[in-house]
Subunit: 276 residues, 2 copies
Amino acid sequence: MLADTVSDQRQSRRVDIGRITLNVREQGQGPLMLFFHGITSNSAVFAPLVDRLSSRFRTVAVDQRGHGLSDKPDAGYAAADYAADIAGLIRSLDAGPAILVGHSLGARNSVTAAAIDPELVRSVIAIDFTPYIETDVFDALDSRVNAGDQLFKDVAAVKAYLAGRYVNLPPAAIEIRAASGYRAVEGGLRPLASPSAMAQTATGLRADLVPVYQKVTKPVLIVRGGDSKLVSADALARTSRLRPDLPVVVIPGADHYVNEVSPEITLRAISNFVDA
Amino acid sequence: MLADTVSDQRQSRRVDIGRITLNVREQGQGPLMLFFHGITSNSAVFAPLVDRLSSRFRTVAVDQRGHGLSDKPDAGYAAADYAADIAGLIRSLDAGPAILVGHSLGARNSVTAAAIDPELVRSVIAIDFTPYIETDVFDALDSRVNAGDQLFKDVAAVKAYLAGRYVNLPPAAIEIRAASGYRAVEGGLRPLASPSAMAQTATGLRADLVPVYQKVTKPVLIVRGGDSKLVSADALARTSRLRPDLPVVVIPGADHYVNEVSPEITLRAISNFVDA
């Protein structure tokens, strides 16, 4: 399994965008489509989407700051910091405006980037993160994020943990997370994501996202998992009242981890949006 | 007012597509965007959308068969007949694939055309017509359609009728319908739409639309008026379960006549779809 991890990491490269160096996985040619993962995750989780979309897009899946093999500064994990990384990366790649596909934290960051730097962004697919997420939902998320900061004795222990935390993920998605998200340390494996960065990032997720949704002028497709415990049906309804002009899809049977649990329907929803 | 009617009609031209001659109003240059009205209506009702979208699209609003100044054959008012007109028009204009914007009957026809001739269609904005419309809703529609077949003594009588039937339409939209939908006859004004064609069309609207929605592969934006009495919240929910990959917007405060009642938000929804 460690061999897989190394092999997986070899496909990626680091891009110095001036303000930070980010690790990315790039595949395909065409209009630029960037992928931004959720908290504690990394760029590898988009493999099922990228494998298909790279036939007609230049796909670049990004390890966001504090995550994966990207830089992990001691501070700077607010929405504005993440969004500035997105803008800097698009400028460095010199291939914008980009389609941004973001899950959870990545959705928050993508919509924020589109609101701040609209000239760099063509559109956003914002998966399962909206304004109006309830406080108790963020409290539960904090607990889950903290629980991931463990020393695992081996890959089997990692997979057992992941299968318990992400109960609806198919085995292939668990494999990807196990293979891409951990590093060998004395006595076993630890998450690549920085615990301090995760704590700051989780706090930052609680910031009011309403002004960003009010401001954004680029097309945003709002995607919700029909069984999501992060974005409630009420949070989605309030978001639609805030921005009734933004299209919505609800993926039946998917929990928060929409693109990993239901990659096929996520792909169709993305295509229906960007091909319109 | 009759002078306005004549003036309004002068902006349009008739296009012989072989199987039928259709009256269209064309404006602007760019990718082809076609507009298809609801039952008893005509191409003029899209003026508020066309005035804005023609800055970057070649907009062609169509009087569908049996309506406006287009041909009104004695028979042939099923979905397949209307959809074949759309395909024939796109081929005649030689500028496809086209974005289709359809309201009600026009939405049904546009999605059907996209399902039958996907190579001619880029995408569809389907406003307030879905599968699963209830039988009693169609019964009520039949009554409204039949009630419109009147001899009106003058334009004031037409406007009074329209204001009573379309209670949420702004005065400017009533003006457009009054100016564009009637012809002078002995003793007053009658609808341009053929009563026989309307009756056949209304019957055709009851045909099961589920197979079309199952088949269509092109992007379809489903638009519902939040207060629509034609597409119930339940009909929309069932449609989303049928095709959860298709994006949805619900326009708050709009009844069935979404694009005439709420043109600004309809425009933003269309832009968010076609610019993604």
